[in-house]
């Protein structure tokens, strides 16, 4: 507890500066973490509004509300904004807030670079959102930006490409900072194999980010050259190939989906032990599983393109390597369940989200294994089954984990307990609505409904209406989330330093709310 006393003294020395410039010029990991989280929440609603347009259009067949052109813009922007604007910044925000506190560091290793990583993002999304108001509209070729569709966009094309460049620069700098922090800023005694699993998950995620964001940057640069400078990377007439784009994109894209789920694994590995009042089962195997998943993520990208006509040997290789991922993922699921086994369980909101994560992410994992089968994928490809699969892993997976993390650490950040009743209400509405929203998509897909279409044949009408209702309820439920956060920031029951009875880890030795500067003197870890 001596660190707590020191932190108190120090807080008096360095209160945060007042006013707008505080946020512009801050180098404090907590300020920057907050800004990332707020940006992510805003983007979650921007992307969510686009999803509402999609579901309103599909509520009934026969082109009810928007033009196909606008529908395609909504589908594309929804994907780009949710991935790059909502999920990734949320995880980086959590990393900023929690990693220094979890490893006993005074701040991130490169505080100024940290500020820059964040402040690039608002400009990147400005560039991206501007496209909606330009002649020809926003991107319409899907978030995967397949050529030649993507090269035929209107004036928005270069804006989108440069927005991707900016997001890439931000991600790489953020990831470098996180790695340097974890490798170099740990308190004495905090060996690698004593690190919290959230920190481990982020170390590996940061490595993935540095490895693949530059590849995406290179790929979109090739698109830019093809459109404006007369190159033929993606046109067969000049000896290039549109399939080349798919390879480049998915070499980035598959590790990218692990970038969006490994930090979630880390969060769940923090929350489950706390509310089971037991240490995590199989810590070492959890670390090795994370590393194996990261390694495998580089050699499975072809499973996104089984139908493009790769040689059979390539199809087989990608099929088997993909199915191999089920092994380390299964280890993680098993270990979470084993952690809960015979624990003294309580079900506060973070735990509810975490348990829902385990169940629902596993459903998404299973449909992933189904999609990994080449002959089955020929059937499922480009159908709503795929949409169901990745929304189970990304919404009831990644997003649920982010919400679990927010509820879990809100008392630490704000010094107040959130309102448990409304937290649980938010959880149950979200969990039920998400399943009403996504589960019928499996059936729609198996029955042959293609994704990314603004209209559909009559036989899909009933299930689409159910899906849309689920979507609207899910969307509206998120307003509760915002209300709970706001009221928790402003007031609420005073939170103790160790806000959760079963919580272990260095962040819980600091007072709640955490002083502006923490661990100025590193704690000793036994």
């Amino acid at each position: 507890m001596s660190s707590e006393v020191l932190a108190h003294e120090h807080a008096a020395e360095h209160a945060p500066p007042r006013g707008f410039m505080r946020w512009i010029t801050t180098t404090n990991h907590k300020d920057i973490g907050t800004m990332y989280l707020v940006l992510s929440l805003i983007m979650f609603f921007v992307g969510g509004a686009m999803a509402m347009v999609i579901r309103a259009q599909l509520f009934r067949p026969d082109m009810q509300l928007v033009t196909p052109l606008f529908f395609n813009q909504m589908a594309t922007m929804h994907g780009l904004i949710m991935i790059f604007g909502a999920v990734m910044p949320a995880f980086v925000g959590l990393a900023n807030w929690m990693i220094p506190m979890m490893i006993g560091a005074p701040d991130m290793a490169l505080p100024r670079l940290n500020n820059w990583s964040f402040w690039i993002l608002p400009f990147a999304f400005t560039l991206l959102l501007i496209t909606l108001f330009l002649p020809g509209g926003g991107p319409q070729g899907g978030w995967t930006m397949y050529v030649p569709f993507n090269l035929q966009l209107g004036y928005g094309f270069p804006f989108m490409i440069f927005a991707i460049h900016l997001m890439g620069i931000s991600s790489v700098m953020g990831a470098i900072n996180i790695i340097a922090t974890i490798l170099n800023m740990r308190a004495p005694g905090m060996t690698l194999m004593k690190m919290p699993l959230f920190v481990w998950a982020w170390l590996i995620t940061a490595y993935l980010l540095i490895a693949v964001m530059p590849v995406l940057a290179g790929g979109v640069t090739m698109q830019l050259l093809d459109r404006y400078f007369g190159t033929h990377f993606f046109s067969v007439a000049g000896g290039g190939s549109p399939i080349l784009w798919e390879h480049v994109f998915w070499f980035f894209g598959h590790p990218e989906v692990y970038i969006m789920i490994l930090p979630a694994f880390g969060i769940i590995s923090e929350i489950i032990p706390t509310f089971s009042r037991k240490p995590i089962f199989g810590y070492r195997s959890m670390v090795y599983a994370l590393a194996s998943i990261a390694f495998l993520s580089f050699i499975v990208w072809g499973h996104h393109m089984f139908v493009v006509g790769m040689p059979v040997a390539a199809d087989l290789f990608f099929m088997f390597s993909t199915m191999l991922i089920a092994v380390p993922t299964g280890i993680k699921i098993f270990n979470w369940v084993a952690t809960m086994w015979k624990g003294s369980l309580t079900f506060e909101t973070p735990m509810l989200f975490a348990v829902a994560f385990i169940v629902l992410f596993t459903i998404g994992g299973f449909s992933g294994v189904m999609l990994a089968l080449v002959p089955a994928d020929f059937q499922y490809n480009n159908s709503y089954f795929v949409v169901a699969h990745f929304h189970y892993v990304l919404v009831t997976g990644a997003v649920f984990a982010i919400m679990a993390a927010v509820y879990y650490w809100l008392p630490k950040w704000t010094g107040h307990m959130y309102n448990e009743f409304w937290g649980k209400t938010h959880f149950w509405l979200s969990a039920i609505a998400a399943n009403v929203l996504y589960f019928p998509m499996h059936f729609l897909g198996l029955a042959g409904m293609p994704r990314r279409i603004p209209d559909y044949p009559l036989q899909f009408a009933n299930l689409n209406m159910v899906v849309s209702i689920g979507g609207f309820v899910f969307g509206l439920s998120q307003l509760i989330f915002v209300a709970v956060i706001f009221s928790c920031v402003r007031a609420g029951k005073k939170a103790e330093a160790r806000a959760w009875e079963g919580a272990r880890g260095l962040e819980w030795t600091l007072p709640s709310p955490v002083p502006y500067h923490s661990f100025s003197t590193p704690p000793e870890i036994a």
């Binding site: 360095h14 010029t25 033929h232 290039g240």
Partner: protein, 294 residues
Amino acid sequence: MAQNPSSPGSGSYYLPHSAPWPIVGSLGLFAFMLGAALWLDRLTPVGPIVMVVGALLLIVMKSGWFGTVIHESESGLYNPRVDRTFRWAMAWFIFSEVMFFGAFFGSLFYERVFMIPWLGGASNSFFTHVVLWPHFLAVWPTNGPAHVGGAFHPMPAWGIPAINTLILLTSAVTVTISLWALKAGKRGLSKIMLLLTILLGASFLGMQAHEYHHAYTHFNMTLGSGIYGATFYILTGFHGLHVTLGVIMLTVILMRLLKGHFTEEHHFAFEAVSWYWHFVDVVWLGLFVFVYWL
């Protein structure tokens, strides 16, 4: 700078308390890219102006930010742990650069090993070839079945590129000697060798400019020369940009050496630039083998 140089309480790790430069950098990047986007489609005539403003902001930001860091470093604010942070950061930055070039090398390999033979009927693409591109001959270099850009002459390996290889390899030796000399306290030799490295880098760039000019005027080998021209220029072009950046960084280091910066123990900026220079060198070897030679 609103920084507290003594930074009490942060242990011995230097933590700046306020950073004015990042937002300048963000505005610069934004203006540069907005300007470029406006210019590419001729949306408004102000595109290039916005772009130049952005570039200027970026230059101001870089000199301001690095100036601050150099000042802090020379004031002895950085302890060995800060030094280690810089080492990790530079190493991972270079790794990200490796992956950036990896995208282009990967594209080159994919085209040469798979796509071009398939267009020529290899593997199970017999009918693709017969029906779609019956006259296409799967040889490298190629500008594709439609012969886009017209007949061209590829760049031979044993002219300028071979000389450039020698230049870069020599420069790797000189930069290493320069760093070694600094560590050994022979600052005079260090400066001479560093100057030599910069001159070699600059002559590499001059040769490359000449090569590009020659390719365009005599060989009809342009960005539009199908997949050969595209991969050639993106790989050599981005490499050239990195050499340019490297020369600028080496020049900054030389100026700092002349001003009396760096000690025998404390000189990571120099070392980081030398890492970068070696990285650029290694990429060139890959280019020479796979773009020019094979």
